[in-house]
């Protein structure tokens, strides 16, 4: 599963809402696939410019935070091995209010252009933040229109999908990725998002102590039911 180069030529598209979504939620998985040679394209719909964390004492303000968070995301991408980064330039907090058709069309065009093997986004109901749910809905709709729903997976927070029944799903809907070998990259990405992570004291303790806070697995929900023939849990083009 971790032979370098085994996934050479494969492509992953992740469509999220804010800088840090990629690192804080599924940084281990992205680092793992990047290390295996997967070409990852990350879309951040916004620059997270309406975030409340601005340093303590504050060293950012509403006008300086967009550039700072863009740079932090670029640094985090370097830590994780993500080579392509795109912004949709939507203002933070307003993803659910932009023209939905235009947003879906934009994502659908990106899917058709990149032809990724796997796509990641937020679950439209379990996203936990209005921007997350809105970008998740739009990406799911775009995948459906492109006929690629079977390649789409929803990211999930921490261990919430250890009990998928609580959310109306079964174990067959869940894909569990072992990220234990890639936690140092995930920690580096956490630290790259300095203005967001510096309030969390554990991130800045010794590497050993900070790494112990991470789970060894990250969990994903299938957007489409697993095909019956897919005993190993991996689709024809799938990485998972």
């Amino acid at each position: 599963m971790s032979d370098k180069g085994q996934n050479q030529g494969r492509k992953l598209l992740a469509v999220f809402a804010h800088p840090d979504d990629e690192s804080f939620i599924c940084g281990g998985t992205l680092a793992k696939y990047a290390a295996e040679g997967v070409d990852i394209t990350l879309v951040s719909a916004t620059r997270g410019e309406m975030g409340r964390r601005m340093g303590n004492p504050p060293y950012l303000n509403r006008e300086t935070i967009p550039t700072a968070r863009e740079q932090e995301l670029k640094n985090a991408c370097d830590c994780l091995g993500i080579r392509q980064l795109r912004f949709f330039d939507i203002r933070d907090k307003t993803v659910e209010f932009v023209d939905r058709e235009a947003l879906v069309a934009r994502i659908e065009a990106l899917i058709r252009d990149l032809d990724p093997d796997v796509m990641l986004t937020f679950h439209e109901k379990l996203g936990g933040h209005p921007d997350h749910c809105a970008i998740g809905w739009a990406t799911t709709e775009a995948c459906r229109r492109a006929g690629r729903l079977e390649s789409l997976y929803f990211i999930s927070f921490g261990g919430m999908m250890e009990q998928p029944e609580r959310y109306g799903y079964t174990r067959r809907d869940v894909v569990k990725v072992d990220v234990s070998a890639h936690l140092p990259a995930k920690l580096a990405a956490f630290r790259a998002h300095r203005c967001q992570s510096e309030i969390d004291e554990w991130v800045w303790r010794s590497d050993r102590e900070a790494l112990s806070r991470f789970g060894s697995h990250e969990y994903f929900l299938r957007a489409a039911p697993a095909p019956a023939s897919d005993a190993a849990g991996r689709g024809a083009r799938g990485l998972f």
Binding site: M54, P57, I199
Partner: protein, 114 residues
């Protein structure tokens, strides 16, 4: 950002009187509050780049500070301001941060759109 010095802010406010200004006014308790604790009531509101004009304004309080701006037909009011951007001379950028440094309130005025 620097802790608010009321005399500096009063001076800045006086210099912005009687002219068209773009305002960014915001208050937020954080969208994640309810995600982590369902008893919390998340609230956030902002207005960005509305055009206003005020005839007089002042800063008051002993910190956190309040600012009131008298407009032809109403008021702009903001409470809980703690910091301002000292490097920005054209625009007046103020914010209120809680003990963890998180932004709670912002009041910004500029002759040009933000």
């Amino acid at each position: 950002m620097q802790p608010i010095d009321p005399s500096v802010i009063q001076n800045r406010i006086d210099n912005l009187r009687d002219r068209d200004l773009y305002i960014h006014l915001e208050m937020t308790t954080g969208a994640y509050a309810a995600h982590r604790d369902s008893s919390k009531h998340p609230a956030a509101t902002f207005i960005s780049n509305a055009l206003i004009r005020f005839s007089h304004g002042s800063v008051s309080g002993g910190g956190p500070f309040r600012v009131g701006l008298k407009m032809p037909h109403g008021w702009v009011y903001s409470e809980g301001l703690t910091h301002y951007e000292e490097t920005d001379s054209e625009r007046l950028i103020m914010a209120g941060h809680d003990r963890e440094g998180k932004l709670v309130v912002a009041l910004q005025l500029s002759p040009q759109p933000f």
